[in-house]
């Protein structure tokens, strides 16, 4: 085969997986109800098993969520306890014409997904604590260049290598402040296998909409846990794609903005020939040393989050209506809390749960309301005190003793009995 021939062939092959073509295929498949190659992994499972409820692992759910959200580029590096995500996508992405590449390290992984995203991909990587630390500079680059991408961090215990197969919630603050400089963060935190699927789709959607790096935090237990999941109807799953510019190339501003600080994003190869840089830049993307332009850029990064808090923040309020005591917990710990609440309610103690599905931006409004409504807040977390300080930040008219910590960092989960004991101490 001559060189030119092979080139044309490859281009056409790539064209078959372009988003628009993909949507076409999807519509076609729906119309004909064919049984070959369903676009959605969930639909495929439903077809194969002929049932709506299946058993699924958290990491599997993340992988299928990514595929169903339209992720077509994954670059990663193996690390326990997130490796299953890479393994599943290594098998599934090539089947769909997407790209899977195992990089030389986690730094390269975050860089590759950012490069691919600027070229038009919906891109995702998955890692755990040590890899997440290595990725921080690259996460900052994705944020300052406003490039959509998703990092899944299946957290494990400890600083350094720690305990790779044990749960911890030690990266809550790293996911917010890990990258140097000052930058906003969108971080989602599921508590069940089903939510792993849903929040992965949401993470990809938010990254595309807000043009930023969105982090999905998982607990080790959730990544490896299997659970019965009733699969959603794909017709009800909403997929968001980045807004494309409609202006001619010489009018294009890479960081144009509307009232909500959301802006269109061109991809390399579409004729816009834009520049991105990790340097502080102007609206066109070129480096600047002017203080007013630098201030504008930093304000823009902040405002696109702060002006859209209502769209970003998701919380679950569980048995809070009549509660005197509230538990504030995220992820797997919220499930221990729910078990403890069942036990406490059986004994007549009025206790409820406030659970953030979005931990960053922090749900200030809901927490303030909770602090007004209840006497005591218990904050169980698998670290040495991270979320509790966010709550203390909001306690204007409460004494320190009304916010009770319950912390565990020995590789075990906080059990319902431990939470129940704290509840009883609080009465």
């Amino acid at each position: 085969m001559s060189k030119t021939e092979s080139k044309t062939k490859k281009t056409t092959k790539k064209a078959a997986v372009k988003p628009s073509a993909k949507a076409e295929v999807k519509a076609k498949a729906k119309a004909e109800e064919t049984k070959t190659q369903p676009e959605s992994k969930i639909a495929e499972l439903q077809q194969d098993r002929e049932r709506k409820t299946v058993i699924m692992q958290g990491n599997e759910a993340v992988s299928y969520g990514a595929l169903d959200a339209g992720v077509d580029f994954f670059a990663g590096y193996p690390i326990t306890p997130s490796t299953e995500i890479a393994e599943i996508l290594a098998e599934e992405l090539p089947k769909r014409g997407g790209v899977y590449i195992q990089m030389e390290d986690e730094i390269a992984s975050i860089c590759a997904i950012t490069g691919a995203s600027l070229t038009g991909a919906k891109a995702l990587t998955a890692t755990s604590g040590p890899g997440f630390s290595l990725m921080q500079e690259g996460i900052g680059f994705a944020k300052i260049t406003e490039t959509p991408c998703v990092v899944v961090n299946v957290q494990r215990l400890g600083p350094s290598t720690g305990m790779p197969t044990s749960p911890a919630q030690g990266d809550i603050m790293q996911s917010r402040w890990g990258s140097h400089g000052d930058s906003p963060a969108i971080v989602l935190y599921p508590d069940s296998v089903k939510e792993c699927y849903e929040l992965t789709i949401r993470a990809v959607n938010l990254s595309e909409k807000y043009r930023t790096c969105v982090v999905l935090l998982l607990d080790e237990v959730l990544g490896h846990m299997r659970e019965s999941v009733t699969l959603p109807d794909m017709g009800n799953v909403r997929i968001i794609k980045r807004i494309k510019p409609t202006v001619p190339p010489h009018w294009y501003k890479h960081y144009d903005e509307n009232q909500k600080y959301l802006s269109p994003l061109a991809s390399y190869g579409e004729g816009y020939r834009f520049h991105v840089t990790g340097l502080t830049h102007d609206q066109h993307g070129f480096p600047t040393n002017k203080n007013n332009e630098a201030g504008d850029m930093m304000a823009r990064l902040r405002k696109k989050i702060s002006y859209n808090i209502r769209d970003l923040v998701q919380i679950e309020s569980y048995m809070m209506d009549d509660a005197d005591i509230a538990i504030f917990a995220a992820g797997i710990v919220a499930r221990s809390a729910k078990a403890a609440i069942a036990m406490a309610r059986y004994e007549g103690i009025k206790v409820g749960l406030l659970r953030p599905l979005t931990i960053w931006p922090f749900p200030d409004v809901a927490v303030r309301k909770m602090l007004l409504d209840v006497d005591t807040v218990i904050v169980p977390e698998l670290n040495q005190g991270q979320m509790i300080n966010e709550i203390r930040r909001l306690t204007k008219d409460k004494s320190e003793s009304d916010v009770i910590a319950l912390q565990k960092v020995n590789g075990e989960l906080i059990s319902p009995a431990e939470i129940l004991q704290k509840i009883k101490e609080a009465i």
Partner: protein, 183 residues
Amino acid sequence: MKFPKNYEVRLSGSGGQGLILAGIILARAAVLDGHNVTQTQSYGPESRGGYSRADVIISDQDIYFPEAINFNCLLALTQEACDKYLFDLRDSGVLIIDTTYVKNLALAAENTYELPFTDITVNELGNPITTNIVSLSFLVKVTGIVSDEALETSIRESVRPAFVEINMKAMKLGFKLAKEYKI
């Protein structure tokens, strides 16, 4: 079968005994029977040796805490696992031990089933690789937590096609041992 509350099973032993696969099979069977289920595991970083356990919680309600705390049923394939977890078995809980490796019992549970599963598997099927399925099938038959059909389908879906036949033999062996077992 109705579950008034959570039914908690812990399968324990050492790495390489196939306990996590057994846990997945049991969990999948419970889903096939229409129950809610969670399956978690804990193991050391190595894939052979070390400790290993798989928890399966079956319920008709929402399952909150996903790990077994107070077992309705404990399967112990090693002495170490038996010593470690025996005291977390409920009062009327079912204890199943592999006497090939478990030689001492720290306390006498009322529903204790003792069989040399590994030895029996080696004698009947030629090697110990399916001890997990033999003992799981025994557990299923004794406790009745999932239906035989669900277990069979689950095994077929969970193991590689080349190994379905040997695992079917193992399942039948487990059922037979349960049927013939005299307390």
